[in-house]
C-alpha cells in the first residue's frame, strides 16, 4: 500500500510540474491590445449630410500605438445590400476631396488611416470626415480600428444614421 501511495505522490507531483510550467510567460512580448475610447460619434447618432463629423476619441496602449483607421460603409436593408445597382459612388479620395458627384443618391463610403507612431496616449479630435451633401441617407456602420506598434489590433463599431439636415 505504501508503494501505491508513493506512486500517487509521484503522479501528483508530476501533475504539479506540468501545471506550474504552464505559468511561464513570454513577458517581453506585447500581446495587449490598444484601448479605444470612442466618445463621438455615439451609437445611433444621426450624422447630417453636407456636414463635418465631430470625431473624438482617446487611444492608449501599454507600449506604443501604431495607427488608426476609420471606415464607414452602408448597412442598407440590414445585411441585404442588394438594392443598389449602376452606382457611381462618391469619389472621396485620401485627401477627402469630392471629385465627382451624380444626381442620384449613392451610398457613402470612407476609409482612411492616421499614423500614431511614437505615441502612447492620444486624444483625437477632428472634423476631417465630411459627409457629402447628397450621400444616400440611411443606416451605416462606422468602424474605428487601432493597432499598436506590435500589430495588436482593436476595433469599435458604431451604428450610425446619415440623414439630411432638414
Amino acid at each position: 500500500m505504501k508503494s501505491i501511495i508513493s506512486k500517487i505522490k509521484l503522479v501528483l507531483s508530476l501533475l504539479l510540474i506540468v501545471f506550474v510550467s504552464s505559468c511561464d510567460d513570454d513577458n517581453e512580448i506585447d500581446v495587449v491590445k490598444p484601448v479605444i475610447n470612442l466618445i463621438e460619434p455615439e451609437n445611433e447618432d444621426i450624422l447630417l449630410t453636407g456636414e463635418e463629423v465631430h470625431f473624438e476619441m482617446e487611444l492608449s496602449d501599454d507600449i506604443m500605438l501604431g495607427s488608426y483607421k476609420v471606415e464607414i460603409h452602408n448597412n442598407f436593408n440590414g445585411h441585404d445590400h442588394s438594392n443598389f445597382n449602376n452606382h457611381n459612388l462618391y469619389i472621396l479620395n485620401q485627401s477627402n476631396q469630392i471629385t465627382r458627384s451624380e444626381s442620384e443618391r449613392d451610398p457613402f463610403a470612407y476609409n482612411r488611416s492616421w499614423d500614431l507612431s511614437g505615441k502612447k496616449n492620444v486624444h483625437i479630435h477632428h472634423h476631417e470626415i465630411v459627409i457629402p451633401k447628397d450621400a444616400a441617407t440611411g443606416e451605416y456602420h462606422l468602424i474605428v480600428y487601432c493597432t499598436d506598434a506590435a500589430g495588436n489590433e482593436s476595433y469599435v463599431v458604431r451604428h450610425i444614421v446619415i440623414d439630411d439636415a432638414d
Partner: protein, 716 residues
C-alpha cells in the same frame, strides 16, 4: 481454454507488431471479445508510437452529437467546436490540415482547413478508434504531421449470423433527437452491414443573456443562440468478402449535415437579426450544408511470405454556404440562379494506396508502398473565398519492423513525396471598380481585386521516423520516437487575398510559401498494474517552417477589414505532454485521471501560436457492478494566458459531468440505457479553440443526454 487464449494473444502480439496501423488480416483472429481487448492492449504496448485505442462502447457512452466530442476525454485530444453540433479534432495543439482522419486506410478529405468547418463522419458508424498522437507522415504523408485519428475496420463476427443494433439519443442542450439503425449479415465468406443515422437539433442553449461582440451588447433571447439548429442524415453500407487468402471490402457512405449560423456572428452584428423568431428548430439564413460521399475499396491477398494490399477510393465533399445576397461593392447584382448561394466548394479526391508486406522469418517485416492522391476543387457562389484548384501528390515509402528480442521492438521508415498544386487566379471586377471609384490608384486597385493568385507549385519532401518500444517487465513499457514530417501548404495559405467572411480579417496567402517541416520527439512510459496504473508521455516538436497567419500592421483598404493578415512561415516549437492514471479502489470503485498540457512558441516572434489548447485535467470516479455503471467527473480547464497577437485570454473553468448506465435484459439481449449530464452546474465558460470564442459566445450550458442501445442477433 486459458492456454488457447494465451496462444491466440501470442499470435496477436506477433501480428500486431507487424501492424503499424490497422490491418485486416489481424481481425481474422478476433472472434472472442476477450481476445480482442487483449489484442488492442498488446497492440498499444508494442506499437512504437504513442497511441490510444478507444472502444465503441466508450464512444457511444460519451456520445454527444459528434465523433470528436466523444473522444475529447482522451488526454492530449481537444475539440475545436464550430458551434451547433459540429467539431474538429485538435491533438497536442495541432489542428486543421495538420491532423489526418483516416477510415479504411483512406484519409478523409473535406474542407478541413476552415475554422468553421466540421468533420463529416457518422460517429455512430465507428467501432474502434486509434488515436496516434505523434506524426503519421510515414503512412499518410502530408497532413498527418500532428497526429492521426484512425477509424479502425469493423470487427466481423466469426459465425454465420444476422445481427443489428438500434441506438436512440436525446440531448437537452439543443433539444436534439437522433436514432441510428444498423443491420448486419454474415454468411459463409460474405459479410454486409448497413447503417442509417439521423439527428435533428434545435438552437443550443448558452448560460447567458447577453454577449458582447465588437463592443456591441447583443441580447440572447431565451438563453438560446439563434439559428444554430441543424440536422444530419448519414447512410453507410459495407460489403465484405473473405476467403482463405483473399479479402475484399467495399464501403460506401454518405454524410449530410445542415446547420444554421448565428446571424449575430456572421458579419457585423445587427440587433434586428438576433431577435427571437419564435422557432428554435428552424434553419434560417445564413446556413451551410455539406454532403460527403465516400466510396472505398480495400483488397488484400496473402501469399506465403508477402501480403499484398490495394486501397482505392473516391470522395466528394460538397459544401455550400447560403446567405441572403449581399455585396460590399456596388455593381454586383444577385445571380439569376441560386441568388443566395454565397459560397460553394466541390472537392473531389481520388486516392489509391498499394502496399506489399514482406515477412522474413518471425521477427522481421518490411512494408513497401506507393500512395497517390489527386484532388480537384470546383467553386461557385456570388462571394469568393477559395479558388478552383487541383492538387496531385505521389509518395513512396518503406517501413521496417524488427523484433530484436522478446522485450524490444524497433520500427523505422522513410518516405519520399512529391506534390503539385495549381490554383486558378481570380479577379473581382466589382471590387476593382469600387476601389477606382474611391479614388485609389489603378495599381493598388489591381492588387486588391486579385482575390486569388495564380499558383503552380511543386514540392518534394523526405520524411522518416524511427522508434522503439521496450517492455522490460510485464507491467512497464517504454516508447521513444523521432520523426521528421512535412505538410504541403493549403490553397488558402498560397492563394487567398481578401476578407474572410467568417473571421472578418483580410487574409492574404503567399504563393511562394514553403512547405511545413519539422522534427518530432516523443517518449512515453506506461505502468499497468492490477490496482494502479499510469502513463506519462512528454513530447517536443520543432518546426523549421510552420505556417501561421501573421498580423502585418498594414491597413487593408477593403470595407470590413482592419489590418492585413499574411500567411507566413516561422520557426516554431510545441512542447507538452499527457499524464493519465487509474486506481482500482475497494468495492468496485475506480478512479481515473487524465491531464494534458501544451506550450507553443513562435520562435521568430517569441510569441505563442494561435489556438493553443487550454490545459485540462479530468478526474473520474466510477462504480461498476453487474451491468450498472455510474460515474462523476471533475473537469478542470486551465486558463490560456499564452496567446498570439489579437487573441484574447481564455479563463479557467471547473465543470462537473456525470452519468449512469444500466444494462437491462431485453428479451434475450442486453439493452443499454445511458443517462449522462454535461456541465451539471451550468457554468459559463469559454473554449479557447472554439470558432465562437472571439465573439465571446460561451460554450453550451447544462445538458442531459439520454441514450438507449438495443442490440439483437439471430443465428442463421
Amino acid at each position: 481454454m486459458y492456454l488457447r487464449i494465451r496462444v491466440c494473444i501470442a499470435i496477436l502480439i506477433f501480428i500486431s507488431l507487424h501492424n503499424l496501423y490497422a490491418d485486416t488480416i489481424s481481425n481474422i483472429f478476433l472472434n472472442e471479445v476477450i481476445v480482442k481487448d487483449s489484442f488492442l492492449d498488446t497492440k498499444k504496448k508494442t506499437t512504437v508510437q504513442s497511441m490510444e485505442i478507444i472502444a465503441k462502447n466508450y464512444i457511444q457512452k460519451r456520445f454527444s452529437g459528434n465523433i470528436i466530442n466523444s473522444i475529447e476525454d482522451v488526454a492530449g485530444v481537444h475539440s475545436m467546436d464550430i458551434g451547433s453540433g459540429f467539431s474538429k479534432p485538435v491533438i497536442r495543439g495541432m489542428a486543421f490540415n495538420r491532423i489526418a482522419v483516416v477510415e479504411n486506410n483512406i484519409k478523409q478529405e473535406g474542407q478541413q482547413w476552415g475554422a468553421d468547418h466540421g468533420l463529416e463522419i457518422d460517429a455512430l458508424n465507428v467501432e474502434n478508434i486509434t488515436i496516434h498522437k505523434g506524426p503519421g507522415a510515414l503512412l499518410y504523408g502530408s497532413d498527418a504531421m500532428g497526429g492521426v485519428i484512425e477509424i479502425n475496420e469493423k470487427v466481423i463476427p466469426f459465425e454465420d449470423i444476422f445481427f443489428g443494433e438500434f441506438f436512440a439519443a436525446a440531448k437537452s442542450v439543443n433539444e436534439s433527437v437522433g436514432a441510428s439503425l444498423m443491420i448486419g449479415l454474415k454468411k459463409n465468406n460474405w459479410y454486409s452491414q448497413l447503417r442509417y443515422t439521423e439527428h435533428r437539433f434545435g438552437d443550443y442553449k448558452i448560460p447567458t443573456d447577453t454577449i458582447i461582440y465588437l463592443t456591441q451588447k447583443i441580447p440572447i433571447y431565451n438563453g438560446r443562440l439563434k439559428n444554430t439548429a441543424g440536422k444530419e442524415n448519414n447512410i453507410s453500407w459495407l460489403l465484405k468478402y473473405r476467403k482463405e487468402r483473399t479479402s475484399l471490402q467495399l464501403q460506401i457512405s454518405d454524410v449530410y449535415q445542415k446547420t444554421g449560423f448565428f446571424p449575430g456572428a456572421h458579419g457585423i452584428p445587427d440587433l434586428s437579426r438576433v431577435e427571437d423568431d419564435g422557432d428554435s428548430r428552424n434553419i434560417d439564413y445564413p446556413y451551410s450544408f455539406v454532403n460527403h460521399l465516400k466510396a472505398i475499396i480495400n483488397g488484400k491477398y496473402s501469399f506465403d511470405n508477402v501480403i499484398f494490399s490495394a486501397d482505392v477510393s473516391f470522395q466528394n465533399n460538397h459544401r455550400e454556404e447560403i446567405s441572403l445576397f449581399h455585396s460590399h461593392y456596388p455593381g454586383q447584382t444577385a445571380p439569376q440562379k441560386d441568388p443566395d448561394k454565397e459560397l460553394e466548394f466541390r472537392l473531389n479526391t481520388y486516392q489509391s494506396i498499394m502496399k506489399g508486406v514482406i515477412l522474413s522469418g518471425d521477427n522481421v517485416r518490411h512494408t513497401i508502398g506507393v500512395d497517390v492522391q489527386s484532388q480537384n476543387n470546383e467553386i461557385g457562389g456570388y462571394s469568393f473565398l477559395l479558388p478552383q484548384y487541383d492538387r496531385v501528390t505521389l509518395g513512396g515509402f518503406i517501413i521496417g519492423e524488427y523484433k530484436l528480442s522478446s522485450t524490444l521492438n524497433l520500427q523505422g521508415g522513410v518516405r519520399y513525396d512529391i506534390g503539385r498544386i495549381r490554383a486558378e487566379g481570380y479577379d473581382d471586377k466589382y471590387l476593382y471598380e469600387y476601389l477606382i471609384s474611391q479614388g485609389y490608384e489603378s495599381s493598388m486597385a489591381d492588387n486588391y481585386q486579385t482575390r486569388s493568385y495564380d499558383v503552380d507549385k511543386s514540392y518534394k519532401s523526405l520524411s522518416g521516423a524511427v522508434g522503439i518500444s521496450w517492455i522490460p517487465f510485464n507491467n512497464h513499457s517504454f516508447k521513444f520516437n523521432i520523426g521528421r514530417s512535412f505538410r504541403l501548404p493549403g490553397v488558402n495559405e498560397l492563394a487567398s487575398n481578401g476578407v474572410h467572411h467568417g473571421t472578418f480579417r483580410h487574409e492574404q496567402g503567399d504563393p511562394n510559401i514553403k512547405q511545413e517541416e519539422g522534427w518530432q520527439f516523443d517518449f512515453s512510459y506506461d505502468y499497468t498494474g492490477e490496482y494502479i496504473g499510469f502513463s506519462v508521455s512528454p513530447f517536443l516538436n520543432r518546426y523549421s517552417n510552420y505556417i501561421y497567419l501573421r498580423p502585418t500592421g498594414e491597413w487593408s483598404v477593403l470595407p470590413h477589414a482592419g489590418q492585413i493578415y499574411r500567411y507566413t512561415g516561422c520557426k516554431a516549437m510545441l512542447v507538452g505532454g499527457e499524464l493519465t492514471g487509474y486506481l482500482k479502489l475497494p468495492m468496485n470503485f475506480r478512479y481515473e485521471l487524465a491531464a494534458d498540457y501544451v506550450y507553443t512558441r513562435n520562435e521568430d516572434e517569441k510569441l505563442p501560436l494561435a489556438f493553443s489548447p487550454q490545459p485540462a485535467l479530468r478526474q473520474t470516479l466510477s462504480f461498476e457492478k453487474s451491468g450498472f455503471n455510474i460515474y462523476v467527473q471533475s473537469h478542470i480547464i486551465g486558463v490560456q494566458k499564452r496567446i498570439a497577437r489579437n487573441e484574447d485570454i481564455t479563463k479557467s473553468a471547473s465543470l462537473w459531468h456525470g452519468g449512469v448506465s444500466y444494462e437491462l435484459p431485453f428479451k434475450k439481449y442486453k439493452a443499454e440505457l445511458i443517462l449522462s449530464a454535461r456541465n451539471i452546474f451550468n457554468v459559463r465558460y469559454y473554449n479557447h479553440l472554439s470558432f465562437y470564442r472571439k465573439m465571446e459566445i460561451p460554450e453550451p450550458g447544462r445538458s442531459f443526454n439520454l441514450m438507449l442501445k438495443i442490440p439483437f442477433k439471430a443465428k442463421i
